[in-house]
């Protein structure tokens, strides 16, 4: 089993988001970066579990500059065998997907896994683009993944429905909650990660198709209107007559 897991670098979920350069860039100062939770907790951990039971290799791939080394080493510490870094600042999903597809072409990965979306730009489209670029089947929003011979048995949780599907490998899968439980790297993993190979390759596409040009913070809420608990039913009156939402 040969698995490629696509990982993205995102600000930690507790980050207070601010912008710089006249609101055209995310302000990275003082921000703690992590592996995108969907990529790490679900996609990478499930890939490692499959490797542990069935054998094979897990490669992680990331697009970013040299300072992404930190999150790549974390993935290696968790148990990935090796890594590829596509050198360049990722500005849109097509650039990232093109780089990953170019790196994966001819490498015969059985499964290419991504998270369902990144928690920074929330596009959720890289997996679908990779599938199209490589002409592979695509199963999105997988919450359970098991190997069944040459196929994968997958559960997808989508708008109020659970779908169980069988897809032939090779294929591209996007992972969501439920697929695995988060792990913490152990000391042996951390030591081993320092010497695992990280291959650096150039970006496949340099121009962007859909660059974000400005950022805006949501307006602050006014003061909360408090209703005494003993008069809780008054809330309904306010929602009906004042807010007019029910």
């Amino acid at each position: 089993m040969k698995i490629l897991v696509c990982i993205s670098k995102v600000p930690d979920t507790t980050t207070k988001i601010t912008f710089t350069d006249n609101n055209t860039r995310f302000n990275e100062s003082g921000v703690q970066f992590i592996i995108n939770p969907y990529d790490e907790w679900y996609a990478l951990v499930r890939a490692l579990e499959l490797k542990e039971t069935l054998g094979g290799t897990v490669t992680v791939i990331n697009m970013g500059k040299a300072d992404n080394e930190q999150i790549i080493r974390k993935a290696l510490a968790l148990g990935a065998d090796d890594a590829i870094r596509i050198d360049g600042e990722p500005l849109d999903a097509f650039q990232v997907a093109s780089g990953i597809a170019a790196a994966a072409k001819g490498e015969n990965y059985d499964i290419i896994l991504t998270g369902k979306e990144t928690i920074d730009y929330n596009g959720g489209v890289t997996g679908g683009m990779i599938a199209e670029l490589l002409d592979l089947p695509y199963v999105s929003l997988a919450s359970k993944l098991d190997v069944d011979g040459t196929n994968l048995k997958i559960e997808r949780e989508i708008e109020g429905m659970k779908e169980t599907v069988l897809v032939a490998m090779p294929c591209v899968i996007s992972a969501q909650k439920g697929m695995a439980e988060a792990r913490i790297p152990n000391m042996r993993g951390i030591l081993a990660s320092k010497t695992k190979p990280v291959k650096i390759i150039p970006a496949a596409v340099n121009e962007t198709q859909s660059k974000m040009t400005a950022f805006i913070l949501p307006p602050e809420k006014g003061n909360v209107k408090l209703i005494p608990a003993e008069e809780a039913e008054k809330l309904v009156d306010l929602l009906h007559n004042e807010a007019k939402v029910i």
């Binding site: 979920t13 207070k16 988001i17 912008f19 999903a93 097509f94 997907a97 928690i119 920074d120 730009y121 929330n122 596009g123 959720g124 489209v125 890289t126 679908g128 683009m129 599938a131 199209e132 670029l133 089947p137 695509y138 199963v139 999105s140 929003l141 997808r156 949780e157 989508i158 708008e159 109020g160 429905m161 779908e163 169980t164 599907v165 069988l166 897809v167 969501q176 909650k177 198709q209 859909s210 974000m212 040009t213 400005a214 950022f215 805006i216 949501p218 809420k221 909360v224 209107k225 209703i227 005494p228 809780a232 039913e233 809330l235 009156d237 929602l239 009906h240 807010a243 939402v245 029910i246």
Partner: protein
């Protein structure tokens, strides 16, 4: 020409499809494509949202959202209509199909947008899972847009769309996978991302056996139910109900949070709600700072009173 992908669920147009149709019609002359079985007279209804013509691929094999088959059909319709802009909904199906369509048509992709382009071509989307917004500047190139649910109001006017049957020669490989089973987990509620009203519970409810309180209020309001991350993590509620930064981001008209403290990750997923009500017995809960209305009190006492008042209002 604009092409809207009108998604069907059980033969009916989804609410998100009406939103996409109304949005597409604002962008310019607009046609639609629908895939799979549709109830009689259903597709014609798109006319009331500004759609002149609907291409219908009435193939029963399209019963699940196969990314390759859907992409093939949407691209064929785009070519036939001469469409340079394709609008889909940012639903599970839209998210699955749009990236393939964009790559195949060599189009720019704008996923999860929440507004029409302004006079200077700026189009907005939510980023950092609701903590901020970003503007894209769109040009004249070919583009694929996915519209966030509950971001654009679909208002019906007059009109009936004409239907043109489109036949597509599918190959086996267009069907990405084989569906073994489908299970309805909605409990009869509208899908969470499409819901106008959402009642959500957190650890303050103490256990899954108390969820009836949340459900009673949701039923009285015709609302969907949701939960915070800890509640989904311990298995009190299914994962697909988890709203927040690592769950789903929602944008209802009214969000009622019960026993949820309001960690930054949870707020990210709900702060675009039009009106937020917070019920928590801890007056220091950070969620009150993001709320429009608040009740400091015990959910077990407060919720039945509210449910009762809603029932009274609905029956009056």
């Amino acid at each position: 020409m604009i092409l809207v992908f009108a998604e069907l669920g059980n033969g009916k147009l989804r609410k998100t499809s009406l939103e996409a149709a109304a949005y597409g019609a604002q962008l310019g002359e607009c046609v639609a494509i629908a895939l799979g079985k549709a109830d009689a007279g259903e597709l014609e209804k798109l006319g009331a949202y500004g759609i002149k013509k609907v291409f219908h691929v009435n193939d029963e094999k399209l019963s699940a959202a196969y990314s390759r088959a859907y992409t093939k059909a949407i691209c064929a319709a785009a070519e036939q209509a001469g469409a340079d802009t394709i609008v889909l909904s940012h639903t599970s199906t839209g998210k699955t199909v749009a990236p393939r369509v964009a790559v195949r048509l060599q189009a720019a992709l704008y996923p999860g947008v929440m507004s029409l382009p302004d006079a200077s071509g700026k189009i907005r989307k939510s980023v950092f899972s609701g903590k901020a917004f970003a503007d894209f500047t769109i040009g004249s190139q070919r583009k694929v847009i996915t519209l966030n649910p509950n971001s654009y109001k679909a208002i019906a006017t007059e009109g009936t769309a004409s239907i043109e049957v489109l036949n597509i020669a599918f190959e086996d490989k267009d069907f990405d996978y084989q569906v073994l089973a489908t299970e309805d987990e909605s409990g009869g509620h509208v899908p969470l991302p499409e819901a106008d009203i959402v009642v959500s519970g957190g650890r303050g409810l103490k256990g899954p056996e108390n969820w009836g309180l949340v459900e009673d209020l949701a039923n009285a309001l015709g609302a969907a139910t949701a939960c915070s991350r800890p509640v989904a993590d311990v298995g009190w509620r299914p994962h697909h109900e988890h709203v927040g930064q690592t769950g789903i981001t929602i944008k209802p008209t009214l969000y009622i949070a019960v026993g949820i403290s309001g960690a930054i990750q949870h707020l990210a997923g709900v702060n675009q709600s039009k009106v937020i009500v917070v019920i928590n017995k801890d007056p220091e809960a950070p969620f009150f700072k993001a709320a429009d209305y608040g009740i400091v009190g015990d959910a077990f006492e407060v919720l039945p009173k509210i449910t009762e008042a809603v029932r009274k209002l609905k029956s009056s």
